[in-house]
Each structure stands twice: as C-alpha cells, then as structure tokens.
C-alpha cells in the first residue's frame, strides 16, 4: 500500500502565494547569460494526482534530483506519447538521459532512482521491499 503525503496543499492565502511568484520580477541575467540553462536530464511522465506518480515525485525530491514533468491525460487511449517513449500506456514513466534508462512502474522507478542516485550501501537493504509491490504501481 502506498501512502502519499498531502504535501501539495498550499496553506498560504491566494494573494500571498501569488506575491511569492517571481515570474515577472526575476532579474534578467538568468536568461541573457551566454550559456543556456540545460534541460533537466530526467523527464517524468505523470498524471495529475496519481498516487503512484506522487510516490516517484517524492523520491525525486528526496534525492534532490532535477526533473521536467510532462502531464498526460487520464484516458490511456490519449497517451500516445507515453506509448511511444516507453512502450506502455501507464504512468509514471521516467526517461533519464544521464543513464539512457527509460522505465515504467513506480516500484521499479523508485528502486532505480535510489540505487542510482541514493547512498549506495543503504539501497541494498531496501531492495527487497522496494520491488515487493505486487501490482507494479502504475495507473
């Protein structure tokens, strides 16, 4: 059973939240610098509010990894892009350009992320439970 922390609930009132958005006030040099900011190496195909996806989100954040989210639709038939990159229509899927790995199913992804980017020694002990999720963890 996967539980997801309600971390996306923003306790700030709307006006405060908005005043924290620096979209329009961010100083210019960031984008006029000679070197382009590189795209995050990890692309994360996900569905809004999908618990299996949130599990991957939490792992990416815990490991401090940069990622770019691509949101797709609830209907599997409208997920051609996921089928094209991963051969399946379920999410989550990640594409990691660092390693050339494309992977589906949250249990596999979490295990992969932890063993690739986590503390090496710690992951071995966890591996047994991380992949024990019988249904694979996908929607």
């Amino acid at each position: 059973m996967v539980t997801v922390a309600a971390e996306s609930v923003n306790p700030l009132p709307f006006s405060r939240r908005f005043s924290d958005d620096d979209t329009f006030t961010r100083p210019f040099p960031e984008r006029t610098a000679m070197s382009e900011p590189a795209d995050p190496p990890i692309t994360f195909y996900r569905l809004q509010a999908c618990p299996f996806c949130e599990r991957v989100t939490r792992t990416l954040q815990e490991l401090g990894l940069e990622y770019r989210s691509r949101f797709v639709e609830p209907l599997h038939s409208k997920r051609d892009v996921v089928k094209r990159v991963a051969g399946v229509r379920t999410v989550p899927v990640i594409v990691d350009e660092n390693t050339g790995v494309t992977m589906a199913e949250s249990a596999n992804i979490v295990d992969y992320l932890e063993s690739t980017y986590g503390d090496a020694g710690a992951t071995d002990a966890k591996t047994g439970t991380a992949v024990a999720n019988g249904d694979g963890g996908a929607e």
Partner: protein, 171 residues
C-alpha cells in the same frame, strides 16, 4: 436599423515595438502533454519571430474565429513559433487542439497574470471572478524585444489580418 453595442475597451498599457516583453513560465500545452516552459526558451527555438497570441477563453466565438483564421493562413509555417496564451486549463486546451485540428501550442494561465503583465487583461461583465485577455498579438525576437504589436480596442474587435501580418513581420 439593428441596434447593438460594441463596447469600448479603452487604451491598453501594453509593450510597444522596441520594448522588452515580460518573461514568464507557464505550462505549455501541445496535443500530447503539457510541461512548464519559459517564453525566452521558446523564443530561441526555430528561425524567425515568436508570435504571442492572446485570445478570450477557448470555447468563445472570438477565440475560435482568431485561431481558425491563423490555422487557415498557415501561420504555423510562417513564423519561428506561434503560441497562444489562454485562461483555459490544460485539459480544455488539449480538447480544443484535438477538436479544432489546431496546430498551435498554448500557455495555460488560468489566473490571467500573464495578460495582466502585458497590460491586455479584461474583466468580464457578470462572470464574477473571471478576468481574461483581450485579443492581442506580439511579435518577439530571440531577446524578447517587441517587433510588432496589435491589441483590440473594442469588444469584440478583430484585426485586419493582412495588415496584422505586415505589422508582425510575417512573410
């Protein structure tokens, strides 16, 4: 004689040619997915100007007329990039792209803050709490400098598209 009201929208305090357009990041919606993208990032892709097109929400006849016209005039092949800005949600944009066979991606901005930053926001009468863009077009170079602009002054108002293409530098 038919009586009807074309409402004056008044002057818009929008960026003029030579001004620097405001940078922003919003989910960019195509026919398959959406992801956060910045305007400056887009403006450096492809050759030619980036055309930023504000319209009323998708589903309105004003939005439909504008996007039908741009599709029929083949703007997708005539600029570096043509991209819409709408208060419609990503889900609504995707449905619109599908149903209207629309080749353009859209920034989804339900809070209408981008239109506010560009001085083209418009409060809708008796749709409490909804503000949306008035029709507006901006041609931007790869440094986000405004090369051409057209903003509606009346509600509704449509551009003369031949003049607009000259103003925006489309070939």
């Amino acid at each position: 004689m038919l009586e009807f009201d074309v409402v004056e929208l008044g002057e818009a305090n929008h960026p003029e040619p030579g001004d620097e357009a405001t940078e922003f990041t919003r989910p960019l919606v195509n026919d398959e997915f959406w992801e956060d993208r910045s305007l400056s990032e887009l403006s450096r892709e492809g050759d030619g100007p980036t055309i930023l097109v504000f319209t009323p929400m998708l589903g309105s006849f004003v939005g439909k007329y504008v996007w039908d016209e741009l599709r029929d005039r083949g703007w997708d092949d005539r600029a570096g990039r043509v991209v819409g800005v709408t208060i419609s949600t990503p889900y609504a944009v995707k449905r619109f792209l599908e149903e209207e066979d629309c080749p353009f991606p859209f920034f989804s901005d339900p809070a209408n803050a981008v239109a506010e930053a560009y001085g083209v926001d418009h409060e809708l009468d008796d749709m409490e709490g909804i503000s949306e863009p008035r029709p507006a077009f901006f041609a931007l170079d790869s440094d986000l400098q405004v090369q051409g602009a057209w903003v509606a002054r009346e509600w509704p108002e449509f551009p003369d598209y031949d003049d607009l293409e000259d103003e925006l530098g489309l070939e």
